[in-house]
């Protein structure tokens, strides 16, 4: 906490409480204690006072005790000489400011000074007043004054949108922008993002409300831009709105201050944007807003409070207008609003994929034949790659799509050209580990466009654009638009900003391809280093319980060295999935104390096994098929099964329909391996687990495999080569029998003798 801010906020609070006391005394003298006080059309009394203190203020005579309470929250300004903690004091002062401000506005309503009069002003929809005086007098219209407090009807309408996410949040703008043009651009940027905007305050008498009016911007409920008043005190209506949101939609009651403040911090994505010079009162009001978890962003130089605590991220951020990187007011406004969104953690929805062709998952399987093709990238005749990397939050410009090099209009029909797609994403929750998880999605995202075919990944990407798609205007930029929209909509939980650069200039493609390949290598290395002992959480996966209702008690435990048995989810996928969907099918399992690293027992995994299997399974061994093996649903890629006579195991692929040495085919075996029950000696696994150093390592590892479906040998030959090296026997794979030569135990034993299979000389498997 900055002492400067604390000093000024506390000073501002002291002054305002004093001012309120004077006003209240005068009002009591002139009008009497019985005079009713209220804001128009609300069932929540004076909402901030009601929410924070539980007091149901209905007349002037009840207000002195509110101010007494406010005064009790005041503190002396921090000593310049001695360091004392002052965060608590500052927050208290902020709260005192809010109570005083609401008291002042309530009194002003009695005097007809609220809503603030502004001759000639026409409100584009606003709070209606039962008193005809307030409806603009003679013609009964809502003209001639600003809006003042928001009524309950509008609160419900907007509140629902804030709660269900249609409206990402609200901005309380206080002060006056650098120029009229800047004021307009800032408000337009907020409107464009569906963010509700409340206006109040001034700098030397000039308010953003004046600026917008001069530029002909319509203000009122209808434009989601509500002018509260031209002084700072009127900003209290924003917090009254926030308090009532919690009371209405959070089911809270007056006086539950802590719950109401938490509700706002966690669910109401609001922030304060202070434009122009920040005076004592503004600091005091800002301290009030921080109580609600609403951060303050200023466009002038003020001390910052960057550590998180009361707010989700930074408390006070300064982004001086003249330092904002941007060519004109429009760009500066965009960056400023973007910064506000970042600081508050507002999630912006991107509804549609703005491309000229139909878009949806129904088009994913489409094939573009050579004859129908306009252009292709990758394949035999050109190079194509895609690379997604994490950038810095303040460097990535969301929505920026750049094409470096010529578009494909210059290419002959059915021709080809080089292309590199480089995606930069940034987000508070983004981690470098998620790069490959997101990058793999490019395949599905691009394929969703009708008339576009996407195959492969990384530097073996191959994309075709059909003649039809090109005719209706699909171009290189369209790729960027697809990726921007889909990354936001599907991965909004971890991605806040997405920028895309498409390279077609051959020299640039060369250069970027080198960068991408370095990154691919780095990731491969990272995967190798990602071992079970290098992490402290595994993930559960109950995804398949949806498809395998007859295995209600099965749960996968996914570790870095043992992917899900369906082959679809590895540890990184689970981690990303949990970040994206914290209530979803992948939950972290804290490992806790190791019970037996050899067989693979941790406290955490065993505890989870009990809960996840609803008590059916007591313990699960991560690395053994013989002792408490992991259960399976039915969607395993392979079945591993003990062949007792051979002192080893066989591995049957689900693509293999032939007879196995066990005397059963895959489909018969599946009945034994599935169902969520532990059967020692039988286990369903994902095929990449076979190549893991932790593959049944407690039972002897890969060398135990005596028979394996040939399809696995073929498709996994690269991986198995590495395994053979690791096991120190380059002939290892050739020593393993398959269905082409062996289909009974007798044949298997003969084969093993003939090929000197290592299992023959290993310890007894049980």
């Amino acid at each position: 906490m900055s002492r400067y801010i604390a000093t000024r906020a506390i000073r501002g609070a002291n002054a305002l409480v004093g001012e309120a006391e004077v006003m209240l005394k005068q009002a009591l003298d002139e009008h009497g204690a019985d005079t009713p006080v209220s804001f128009p059309n609300t069932a929540y009394f004076l909402p901030v006072i009601f929410g924070m203190t539980g007091r149901e203020i209905e007349n002037l005579g009840e207000l002195p005790e509110v101010l007494d309470h406010a005064r009790s929250l005041l503190h002396p300004t921090p000593s310049a000489k001695h360091w004392t903690p002052y965060l608590g004091e500052t927050l208290d002062s902020g709260m005192a400011t809010l109570l005083a401000a609401e008291t002042i506005e309530a009194i002003r309503y009695i005097y007809g000074l609220q809503p603030e009069l502004l001759p000639g002003f026409e409100l584009a929809g606003g709070t209606s007043f039962t008193s005809p005086d307030m409806n603009g007098g003679a013609d009964g219209s809502s003209n001639g004054h600003l809006n003042g407090a928001i009524d309950d009807i509008q609160l419900r309408s907007w509140g629902i949108q804030l709660v269900d996410g249609r409206m990402p949040g609200f901005a309380a703008i206080v002060g006056c922008a650098k120029s009229n043009a800047a004021a307009v651009q800032i408000v337009r940027e907020l409107q464009r993002r569906n963010i509700l905007t409340f206006l109040s305050g001034n700098v030397n008498g000039r308010s953003i409300i004046h600026q917008l009016l001069e530029e002909g911007v319509e203000l009122g409920y209808d434009t989601y831009t509500v002018p509260f008043g031209t002084d700072t005190i009127s900003a209290i209506y924003a917090l009254g709105f926030a308090t009532r949101s919690a009371l209405t939609f959070g089911g809270m009651k007056g006086g539950q201050a802590k719950e109401i403040l938490h509700y706002n911090k966690d669910r109401v994505f609001a922030f304060v944007l202070a434009l122009g010079e920040v005076d004592d009162l503004k600091y005091a009001a800002a301290a009030g807003a921080i109580n609600f978890g609403f951060p303050v962003i200023a466009d002038t130089v003020i001390p910052q409070i960057l550590p998180t605590g009361v707010t989700t991220y930074e408390h006070v951020v300064s982004l001086p207008w003249h330092e904002i990187d941007g060519g004109d007011d429009l760009e500066k406004a965009e960056r400023l609003v973007q910064k506000c969104i970042e600081v508050r953690g507002v999630k912006v929805q991107v509804a549609d994929v703005p491309v000229p062709v139909p878009y949806g998952s129904a088009f994913e399987g489409e094939v573009v034949r050579k004859a129908d093709m306009r252009v292709e990238f990758g394949g035999k005749n050109s190079r194509c790659f895609e690379y997604l990397r994490m950038g810095k939050l303040d460097e990535v410009v969301d929505g920026k799509i750049e094409v470096v090099g010529p578009d494909f209009s210059a290419v002959d029909p059915q021709g080809s050209m080089d292309m590199g797609i480089v995606v930069e994403v940034a987000g508070r929750q983004m981690e470098q580990d998620f790069e490959p998880v997101l990058e793999r999605q490019i395949h599905y995202f691009v394929n969703g466009a009708s008339g576009i075919q996407h195959i492969g990944q990384r530097d073996i990407t191959w994309i075709r654009v059909s003649e039809k798609a090109a005719e209706v205007g699909f171009d290189l930029e369209s790729f960027g638009k697809i990726l921007h929209a889909r990354l936001h909509s599907d991965f909004g939980a971890i991605v806040d900003k997405v920028a895309i650069t498409i390279y077609t200039d051959p020299e640039q493609v060369d250069q970027r391809l080198d960068e991408a390949r370095a990154a691919y290598d780095f990731r491969n290395k990272r995967l190798e280093d990602l071992t079970d002992t290098a992490v402290d959480v595994f993930y559960s996966c109950t995804l398949c319980q949806s498809f395998a209702p007859n295995a209600p008690n099965h749960v996968c435990i996914v570790s870095p060295e043992r992917l899900g048995l369906c082959g679809a989810y590895n540890w990184l996928d689970c981690k990303a999935s949990f970040n994206i969907n914290p209530t979803g099918p992948n939950q972290p399992i804290k490992l806790g104390r190791v019970s037996d690293l050899e067989t693979g027992y941790w406290e955490g995994t065993n505890d989870y096994a009990k809960v996840g299997s609803h008590g059916v399974v007591e313990e699960v061994a991560m690395y053994s098929i013989m002792e408490n093996p992991m259960t399976a649903c039915g969607c395993f890629e392979c079945i591993v099964m003990l062949i007792p006579e051979a002192n080893g195991v066989m591995v049957v692929s689900r693509e293999d329909t032939s007879m196995t040495p066990a005397g059963m085919t895959f489909s018969t075996l599946a009945g034994i391996a599935g169902g969520g029950i532990q059967t020692p000696g039988v286990m369903g696994v994902g095929k990449y687990y076979l190549a893991s150093p932790k593959f049944i390592s407690a039972d002897g590892g890969f060398k135990r495999i005596v028979w394996m479906s040939s399809v696995l040998k073929d498709t996994m030959s690269e991986e198995f080569k590495i395994v053979a090296e690791r096991e120190g026997d380059l002939e290892l794979i050739d020593r393993i029998a398959d269905e082409r030569s062996v289909s009974s135990v007798d044949e298997l034993l003969a084969w093993m003798e003939a090929h000197e299979h290592p299992a023959l000389t290993m310890d007894a498997i049980f």
């Binding site: 629902i160 319980q545 209702p549 209530t583």
Partner: protein, 323 residues
């Protein structure tokens, strides 16, 4: 030889949920319905008593239903053109509560409007004193457009609003929270999806005693085993103490049974199938009773005769000799 029946001791209890509110509680209902509270599998009276027997809802539509079996239309007669009278007829037929279903169109075939929805709900509330479940057509935009004003206009009635689904629950939950209503969450026959939706809805701050879940089911001969199994597993998890599965269950055997060929088609079917109307109600009754045994707290029916028959079955199950 004396036989000792094993008694299960379950740590968990199904939530008790009250539908509808009387004038004393801020509504206008003449009676309320309380469901849930089970501490054992259905009708295991020797373990624990069943605090609230399963209840029967009758389904009616806001506009004359276009796709209902002729058997049903014959049974109800011309009240199907008048929601208020239909609601009265449902009450007379012995329903414990009423489920009012909106389609995409109003009675004149125009798209439903908030005014039409509010008007219809108010008419039904006036015509009957029973608690009410109000469901939109199941299209997010339309649901939200009509359910929000309905929720506002009936504040305090403790209606059950739906459908809350994975893709669209926030708006309905928010308006229920703001107006003291309940919600119905539906997930497609899956324990984990049901649980997840319950987590999401309670995450928004809606208390668990204001949520009823519909785990979806199938009709007899059309996947009832699947639905039964999911309900049974949800209930087992609830009794084992998993708070996010401890919600009372509402299922709609009426909808499921009356869309089977056996119930819907009267001509061109084998004579051995017997009388069409009898067959339809048999189908509905058997589906409903099976689901009650799986743990349903509310069954939604369509035929008035089925109400009587399912009621008999419930009464019998509730008075079973305890060992």
């Amino acid at each position: 030889m004396p036989i000792e029946i094993p008694v299960d001791k379950w740590p968990g209890t199904v939530n008790t949920v009250t539908l509808g509110a009387t004038a004393a509680d801020g509504g206008t209902r003449s009676k309320v319905v309380t469901i849930g509270g089970e501490r054992s599998l259905p009708f295991m009276h020797f373990e624990n008593e069943t605090p609230h027997p399963p209840v029967i809802a009758l389904e009616m539509t806001a506009a004359r239903p276009g796709d209902w079996s002729q058997v049903l239309l014959d049974a109800w007669g011309d009240v199907v053109d008048d929601p208020a009278r239909w609601a009265g007829a449902c009450e007379e037929a012995g329903a414990d509560l009423i489920l009012l279903m909106f389609g995409l169109n109003d009675a004149d075939g125009n798209p439903v409007t908030p005014d039409f929805a509010v008007g219809t709900v108010k008419a039904v509330l006036q015509a009957t004193g029973l608690p009410l479940v109000v469901l939109g057509p199941g299209q997010a935009e339309v649901d939200n457009e009509i359910l929000v004003p309905v929720a506002d206009a009936t504040k305090g009635e403790r209606l059950v609003l739906g459908l809350c689904e994975d893709a669209n629950y926030r708006t309905i939950v928010a308006s229920a929270m703001a107006n003291g209503h309940l919600v119905l969450g539906r997930t497609p026959m899956d324990v984990n999806l049901a649980k997840q939706l319950n987590i999401l809805m309670t995450d928004m701050g809606l208390p668990l005693d204001r949520i009823v879940m519909d785990p979806t089911t199938g009709a007899l001969g059309y996947g009832i085993e699947y639905g039964y199994s999911v309900m049974e597993r949800l209930r087992l998890a609830a009794l084992q103490g998993d708070a996010m599965t401890q919600l009372p269950m509402l299922v709609n055997p009426g909808y499921e049974a009356w869309r089977t060929k056996e119930s819907k088609v009267g001509e061109g079917v084998p004579d051995t199938w017997g009388d069409w109307a009898a067959r339809g109600t048999h189908w509905e009754t058997l589906t409903a009773v099976s689901l009650i045994e799986a743990g349903a707290d509310v069954v939604v029916l369509r035929h008035p005769d089925s109400v009587t028959r399912v009621r008999e079955a419930i009464d019998e199950l509730m008075t079973l000799e305890t060992a």
